[in-house]
C-alpha cells in the first residue's frame, strides 16, 4: 500500500494585535471573570478536592486526622474492576445507547409535530410536554414506581387484571426493570430534548424548504438534506450533555429498583449504582474518591472521543 503523503499545513503567522483588540480581549476576560470564578467554585474546586481526598486515608477511623497515602486507594479501586463492574459498565453503555437513540427519535418526531404550521393549541401541547421537567425527579420516579409499576396498586397491573391477565412484578427481573427504567428516564429527559429540537427546527430558514419543494423534494429528502444537517450543530452540545447525564444515571435506577428497604429483586446496575453499593457505603471517602476520579477519567475519555467525532 502506498502511503499517502500528508499535507503539511503552512504555519499561520500571528499578526500583531492592535491596542483596540487587546482592550476588547481584556474586557472579555474581565467580564467573564465572575462566571469563571463561580465555575471554579462549584465545578473545578470539588473535582480538585476529590482528587486530593483520593490520595488520603480519609475514612471513619481517620475522619479529621487523615494522611496522604499516595496511590493506595487507586490500587484498591482497580480491584473493584471485577466481573460485576464490567457487567455494569456494559449495561451502562447499552443503557446510554438505547436511551439516546429513543430520545433523539422521539424528541425529533414530537418537535416536528409541534412545528406543523396548521397545528392548533401548540402552546398547550408544549406546556404539557414540558410538565415532566417541572416536577422534581425524585417525586416523579417514586410516583411511577408506586402508581404505575407497583404489583398491588399500580395502573399496569390494574389493566392486566381487567384484561383477565396474570399480574406481573414489573421491576423484579433485569430485562423488565431495564425497560421500566428506560421509560421513566425518557419521560424525565424528553422535555429538554424536545425544547432543544423545537428551537433548532424553528431556526431553520423556511426558504430552504420552499426551494426544495420547488425542486420536487419529498418530506424524507427535505428531512435528510435540510433539517438534520441544519439542526445537528445546534443540538450537538445538548446531545453530548444528555449522553453524559444518561451515562452517569443514578436516581432513576436506584430509586426504582435498588433503594434501601425497597429492593425489587432486579440486578440491573449502572456504573454509578454499582459503585455506590460496592464502595460509597463504606464511609471510606479516600477510596470512594479514587473510584469517583476513575469514573471521571472514563467520562473524560468518552468526552474526548465524542469531541473528535464531532470535529470530524
Amino acid at each position: 500500500m502506498k502511503r499517502q503523503k500528508r499535507q503539511v499545513k503552512p504555519k499561520k503567522k500571528r499578526l500583531p494585535s492592535s491596542p483596540k483588540q487587546r482592550k476588547i480581549t481584556f474586557w472579555s476576560y474581565l467580564c467573564s471573570a465572575p462566571s469563571l470564578i463561580l465555575i471554579g467554585l462549584v465545578v473545578v474546586f470539588p473535582i480538585l478536592y476529590t482528587g486530593y481526598i483520593s490520595l488520603t486515608n480519609m475514612n471513619v477511623y481517620h475522619w479529621f486526622d487523615f494522611d496522604i497515602i499516595g496511590l493506595d486507594n487507586y490500587k484498591r479501586a482497580l480491584f473493584l474492576v471485577d466481573s460485576g463492574f464490567l457487567s455494569a459498565l456494559l449495561t451502562t453503555i447499552l443503557w446510554t445507547i438505547v436511551n439516546m437513540a429513543i430520545q433523539l427519535v422521539a424528541a425529533f418526531v414530537l418537535a416536528s409535530l409541534l412545528n406543523i404550521q396548521s397545528l392548533k393549541l401548540r402552546k398547550v401541547y408544549k406546556t404539557l410536554l414540558m410538565f415532566p421537567w417541572a416536577m422534581p425527579g425524585y417525586v416523579s420516579i417514586l410516583l411511577w414506581k408506586t402508581g404505575i409499576f407497583n404489583s398491588q396498586f399500580g395502573l399496569l397491573n390494574q389493566w392486566m387484571e381487567r384484561l383477565g391477565l396474570q399480574t406481573v412484578r414489573w421491576l423484579s427481573n433485569d430485562v423488565s426493570a431495564f425497560i421500566c427504567c428506560t421509560v421513566v428516564n425518557l419521560w424525565l429527559a424528553l422535555p429538554f430534548m424536545i425544547m432543544i429540537m423545537d428551537g433548532a427546527l424553528q431556526s431553520i430558514d423556511k426558504s430552504y424548504y420552499e426551494s426544495a419543494i420547488l425542486d420536487g423534494a419529498g418530506w424524507f429528502r427535505r428531512t435528510v438534506s435540510i433539517t438534520l444537517p441544519t439542526i445537528r450543530p445546534i443540538i450537538g452540545p445538548a446531545v453530548i450533555i444528555t449522553v453524559f447525564t444518561t451515562f452517569k444515571q443514578f436516581d432513576v435506577v436506584y430509586l426504582l429498583t435498588q433503594q434501601a428497604g425497597a429492593k425489587t429483586g432486579s440486578h440491573f446496575h449502572t456504573l454509578i449504582t454499582y459503585t455506590y453499593e460496592n464502595a460509597f457505603i463504606t464511609n471510606n471517602y479516600g477510596y470512594s474518591s479514587a473510584i469517583s476520579i476513575l469514573i471521571f477519567v472514563l467520562l473524560l475519555l468518552f468526552s474526548w472521543k465524542f469531541r473528535l467525532e464531532e470535529k470530524s
Binding site: R22, I37, V60, N173, G261, A262, G265, N278
Partner: protein
C-alpha cells in the same frame, strides 16, 4: 497580546484558587467563631409533635437556656461533614443509637457520662443502656425506644386467632390469603424486619467484633424457613405497600413499628397488639431490632459549653421528658421512673413495647453495621425476590460483606 494572555492566565488561576481561599477562610472563621454559651442548638429528624414536646419540656425545666431545635432530613450526612466545626454543627443531636460507632470513631462525640452519673443511668432499662454503649463508653442519653410489634386488625383476625407460633401464623396465612387479601404482610426483604426471623433462629447479622455472620447456619436456616411465608406475601417489600395493605384492610396482620399506629387508628382499624410468635423449630420468639432514641453531645460543645450542657443533660434525665416524648411519639420511655406515671403504665402500645423489649435485640452500633444493611438487603432480595439458592446467595453475601468491611479501613 502577551499581556492579555498573562491576564487570562491570572483570571483562570484565580478562578481555581478563590474556592480554596474561601474554604480556608471559612475554616478559620469556624474555629474562631464566638459561641453563645447560653444557647443550645439541637439537631433532630423527628416528627414535629416530638420536637414540640421536647422543646416545651426543656423550656420548662431549663428556662435560662435558649434552645434552637433544627430539623435535618440528612442529619447523619450533615454531621459527617461538619461534626467537628462549632460554627456549622449543633451542640446536641437526637438520633437512634445505631450510628454511635461511626460518630465515636470519627471522634466527634463526648461520652454522656461526663454530664450524667452512672447512678442516674442505673434507673434506665438495661437494654437501652447496653444499646448506647460503645467500647465501654456511653455516648447517648437514652430517651425512648421503639421496636417492631405484631399488630392485627380485629375485624378480620379475632383475638383467639392470634398466632402464638410461626407455624400457627403460616396456617393462618394459608387459610386467609388470596383474591387480593393477605393473612399477614411484612417488609420481608428488608434487613431491619428480617432480622427478627434471623434472631428467632439464634442467628445474627454481625458479631459484636464486627465479623459478618451471613453464612452461618442460623441465618441460612432462617432464610430457608422464611421463604414459605414470603410466598404468601406481596412481591413488593417497601413500607408504603405493606402499610397501605394493612391500613386499607387488605391484610389481617402485620409486623410494624409504632409509627404505623396513628395512621391505623385514623383509618378506624380496631388495632390489636400481640406478642411476637415463637419459632416452632427453636422455641425462640421472633426478636426484632430495637432502636434507642436519645441525645448525643458533640465534643466541641462539651468543651466550650460545659456548664450549660450539664444543666440540659440533667434536665433531660427528668422523667417528665421521657413521659412527654413517649406520649408524643407512641414509643416507650427508656427511664423506668416514667412507668410510674399512670398514663404511661396503662398505655397498651407502650406496655407492648416494653414487653417486647425483653426479647428485642438492640441494633448493633458498630460502624461495620453501615455496610451490613445494604449487603443483607441484597441477600434478602436475591433469595426472596429473585429465587436464588439460599446457600449460594448467603455465601456470596458473606464475601461481599467481608470485602466492604475491609474497604472501610
Amino acid at each position: 497580546m502577551k499581556r492579555v494572555r498573562k491576564l487570562a492566565a491570572w483570571i483562570l488561576t484565580l478562578a481555581v484558587m478563590i474556592p480554596f481561599v474561601f474554604t480556608s477562610v471559612g475554616c478559620s472563621q469556624g474555629a474562631d467563631a464566638d459561641t453563645d454559651s447560653n444557647q443550645v442548638v439541637i439537631w433532630h429528624d423527628k416528627e414535629d409533635a416530638v420536637a414540640e414536646a421536647l422543646l416545651a419540656e426543656l423550656n420548662r425545666l431549663v428556662p435560662d437556656v435558649e434552645f434552637v431545635l433544627e430539623k435535618k432530613t440528612s442529619l447523619t450526612d450533615s454531621l459527617k461533614l461538619s461534626g467537628n466545626d462549632p460554627s456549622a454543627s449543633p451542640d446536641l443531636f437526637i438520633f437512634a443509637h445505631d450510628k454511635i460507632g461511626v460518630f465515636a470513631e470519627m471522634d466527634i462525640l463526648a461520652p454522656v457520662t461526663e454530664f450524667v452519673s452512672e447512678e442516674t443511668l442505673s434507673s434506665y432499662l438495661d437494654m437501652t443502656v447496653d444499646a448506647v454503649t460503645y467500647k465501654g463508653e456511653i455516648y447517648e442519653l437514652p430517651i425512648y425506644f421503639e421496636t417492631l410489634l405484631f399488630m392485627y386488625n380485629r375485624r378480620y383476625m379475632q383475638d383467639e386467632e392470634v398466632p402464638s407460633t410461626t407455624e400457627e401464623l403460616y396456617s393462618y396465612m394459608q387459610a386467609n390469603t388470596g383474591r387480593g387479601r393477605y393473612g399477614f404482610v411484612e417488609q420481608h426483604s428488608t434487613a431491619y424486619y428480617s432480622a427478627a426471623w434471623i434472631h428467632g433462629f439464634g442467628g445474627s447479622l454481625i458479631s459484636e467484633a464486627g465479623e459478618p455472620l451471613l453464612d452461618s447456619d442460623a441465618v441460612k436456616n432462617a432464610l430457608s424457613y422464611h421463604l414459605k411465608f414470603v410466598e404468601l406475601m406481596p412481591g413488593e417489600t417497601e413500607y408504603s405497600t405493606v402499610n397501605t395493605l394493612f391500613i386499607e384492610g387488605q391484610a389481617d396482620s402485620t409486623i410494624g413499628g409504632p409509627w404505623m399506629v396513628p395512621s391505623a387508628r385514623e383509618a378506624g382499624i380496631d388495632l390489636g397488639i400481640a406478642p411476637m410468635p415463637v419459632v416452632d423449630e427453636t422455641g425462640l420468639s421472633l426478636s426484632p431490632y430495637s432502636g434507642v432514641q436519645g441525645v448525643y453531645v458533640l465534643k466541641h460543645a462539651a468543651e466550650s459549653k460545659k456548664e450549660t450542657i450539664q444543666q440540659v443533660m440533667t434536665a433531660l434525665c427528668d422523667p417528665s421528658v421521657g413521659i412527654a416524648l413517649a406520649q408524643a411519639s407512641g414509643c416507650a420511655p427508656a427511664n423506668t421512673a416514667c412507668y410510674d406515671d399512670p398514663d404511661i403504665a396503662e398505655d397498651e402500645m407502650v406496655t407492648a413495647m416494653r414487653d417486647t423489649a425483653q426479647i428485642a435485640t438492640p441494633m448493633p452500633n458498630i460502624p461495620e453495621m453501615d455496610v451490613m444493611w445494604t449487603v443483607t438487603g441484597n441477600l434478602l432480595s436475591d433469595v426472596n425476590l429473585s429465587g436464588e439458592d439460599v446457600e449460594t446467595a448467603a455465601d456470596e453475601a458473606q464475601k461481599q460483606a467481608l470485602d466492604l468491611i475491609a474497604a472501610m479501613q
